[in-house]
Amino acid sequence: MEYVIEMLNIRKEFPGIVANDNVTLQVKKGEIHALLGENGAGKSTLMNVLFGLYQPEQGEIRVNGSPVKITSPNIANDLGIGMVHQHFMLVDPFTVTENIILGKETSKAGKIDLKEASEEVRKLSEQYQLSVDPYAKISDISIGMQQRVEILKTLYRGAEILIFDEPTAVLTPQEIKELIFIMKALIKEGKSIILITHKLKEIMEVCDRVTVIRKGQGIGTVNVNETNPNELASLMVGREVLFKTEKTAASPTDVVLEVRELEVKDARGVSAVKNLDLTVRAGEIVGIAGVDGNGQSELIEALAGLRKSTTGSIKLNGKEIRNLKPRKITEAGVGHIPEDRHKHGLVLDYSVGENIVLQTYYQKPFSKAGILNSKKIFEKARSLIKSYDVRTPSEYTPARALSGGNQQKAIIGREVDRNPDLLIAAQPTRGLDVGAIEFIHKRLIEQRDAGKAVLLISFELEEIMNVSDKIAVIYEGEIVAIVNPKETTEQELGLLMAGSKRTEAGGKQHV
């Protein structure tokens, strides 16, 4: 069978690193081809080479068998290569049609014929069963819909080969199902797809073949029906990966965190958390399961002192910490791996070392009489970088330059190293690959085994089921059920998260 895209022995260097070395990717017509690799393995670099954003130092690109030089995204577009970006490139106040024709407007006497364009968009949408309303405003439609607009944008430009960059990272499970359906419809219409991902489940479900990159090196291409997730994971990470997190039974002791009748209002003044009771003991991991937007963020922010709560009580080791300043809460013994590592977790323009002392810079030995001791700061950084396997060129590298997984490892190292009595981990593995996830889960369990209390918030049921010793289901700002992960199923949790109370237990329970 003929290849639509061939990238042969591509090498791309950046000052100090080789991002791609001898990577070969050959995509057949009409297939869904996965590009698999850890965070920072060089997937995006390779795709940016294909899309004309970077020029390779070595190697050849062929489209439909003939060698091409792609020096800009426009040339890529002309060759029928379209990219569906992970972070959408859409103008919010514009309609779907306006966004799709942006840069490709056909006008009559200087006036854009939106009607005709909308008609064309509607037809395309129908052909590929996207059900997008051409007249809807971007700001009014869901994330899943916005992604379809991005897909339409590439189709409108005549794309034959679509690159999907981590398309499921931002979607809900339902939307993921729909996207898979759409991708299959695209293939039926004769398109080819390159899917950049590190989620093995998706690859097994939709892809025909998969090319694996590890640390910039092309590892090889395998047929999906001849492999299994375990093999893919070890190809990607370079060693055996354990999917089931191994842990012994928990032996909870004293109450560390005790939340009673907590109410927290969100930015609009609506109660996001109400009448919430929660207890976390030393030596256990309590997982909070729930659909996004049921008060998880507000709860964490209230616990960490980033948001004021209106009523209730939050006790840490028996001492009231509600509405204290973040520093007081930190000093009282709370570690917090924040939900959004770029917004809260890191000062991206600061070096890794400076980020590692972000909460402790004012304490000895990092500063004395107001003067920083950089020697001690970077010494600490070096030791944490080593023990938490943060892959960075040096401790002086800006945090911005690190991949997501390594940024997260640095944060976890920082939080765990302070030895807090309570560790709050909010979506600690979001966007990370299996290797990093395994590492992070191990660290959380280590904390538990060291007699610390761990509160885990995640939207991934698998993670909650795997890591927690006790699951608290949150729905509309309330804990509606406490279940034992060994005695429950994903189905039951799903129902509880959707608001149907547990039949046998019923009502609200105290932990």
Partner: protein
């Protein structure tokens, strides 16, 4: 080493381009650019008098540049340096006139008064930003006018009886230096250069070596992460403006206590505060960069005065050159593009 070099390339190319385009403009206007630049350089370092005057011109540029750069480094745009400079000038002169004290107390007190006045003037936009999220650019720009007219009023109605300038400050509060004057052929070079250099070191030290600087920069980069890390965002915004304003106030104090020895009613802004923005930009907001940029700006301004005398070229040409340099610095992307092209060509 090469990293430092490349940091310098872009401003350096901007300066060269500015001078080249300036030469073209001189040619187009019928002047000889070589003679023009010759007389300008003569006006900067031609003899010891010119050197002294150049140094004197550079002093307020360094301090105004530090003021803008300090705020920039901590995420704020202090466009009110001009106003803070004006109030600092008046406050320093006021203390210089009003008290009769020994020099060892009087001079530091007058300098301090300038810094405090500038700091207080900058405290207003800082406080409003911290408390009500009012943008500091709007408040500080309006406070420039307020400063101008309030100081004019004070000079006319409080410090004097309807006069256009105050009486001279007491000798015990003066920065004038018979020593510097004697070695520079009686230029107006004064001790302010020492104050400016101390401030350069202070800025570098605060930002790079202290925990306060660590907080200030963190808040400038990412307020959310700073709050998460337990820093007080509001306190740091106010502190940053206050320190920036103190530098600006000192710039004014140097003019009041050193160059002039009095404060006069002003018809308009001195322009030094606004030039401070350009100095900070050209100096990439670092302490040492500000010194280099101030050397260039002050030098050009001082040298410009010599051009009409020797060659008949209007000194406004130098203003054009300065504007061009700023333009090329601001379009550093364009410069980098040219540099990249150039490198490729050489390869």
């Amino acid at each position: 080493m090469s990293k430092h070099l490349s940091k310098l390339t872009s401003p350096l190319i901007a300066v060269i381009l500015g001078l080249v385009v300036g030469a073209i403009i001189m040619l187009a206007s019928g002047y000889d650019p070589i003679a023009g630049y010759g007389s300008m350089i003569g006006g900067i370092v031609g003899d010891s008098y010119y050197v002294g005057e150049s140094v004197r011109t550079i002093i307020p540029y360094i301090l105004a540049g530090l003021a803008v750069a300090f705020a920039f480094r901590t995420g704020l745009f202090n466009i009110g340096v001009e106003g803070q400079l004006i109030v600092g000038w008046l406050a320093a002169v006021w203390v210089g006139i009003a008290f009769d004290l020994p020099r060892i107390i009087h001079l530091p007190l007058a300098i301090l008064a300038g810094a405090v006045a500038g700091a207080l003037w900058a405290f207003i936009p800082g406080y409003l930003k911290a408390k009500f999220r009012v943008h500091e650019v709007i408040v500080s720009i309006m406070l420039n006018y307020t400063a101008l007219h309030v100081t004019n009023y004070l000079i006319r109605n409080v410090l004097t009886d309807k006069l256009d300038k105050t009486e001279r400050i007491a000798d015990t509060a003066s920065l004038r230096s018979p020593f510097f004057e004697s070695i520079t052929d009686f230029s107006r070079m004064h001790w302010g250069i020492v104050v400016a250099i101390i401030c350069v070191i202070i800025m570098w030290f605060i930002l790079e070596r202290t925990k306060t600087g660590f907080e200030l920069k963190a808040v400038g980069f990412n307020q959310h992460a700073s709050e998460y890390a337990g820093m007080s965002v509001n306190k740091n915004i106010i502190l940053s403006m206050v320190i920036s304003g103190a530098f600006a106030g000192l710039a004014g104090a140097m003019e009041g206590l050193g160059t002039f020895g009095y404060a006069a009613v002003k018809g308009g802004f001195t322009g030094m505060g606004f030039d401070g923005i350009a100095v900070a930009l050209l100096g990439a907001n670092t302490a040492i960069g500000v010194v280099l940029a101030a050397l260039l700006f002050g030098g050009l301004k001082a040298g410009a005065l010599n051009m009409p005398l020797e060659t008949g070229i209007p000194s406004e040409i130098v203003d054009i050159v300065i504007a061009l340099i700023i333009f090329f610095v601001a379009s550093s992307y364009f410069i980098r593009w040219i540099a990249a092209r150039f490198k490729k060509g050489v390869k």
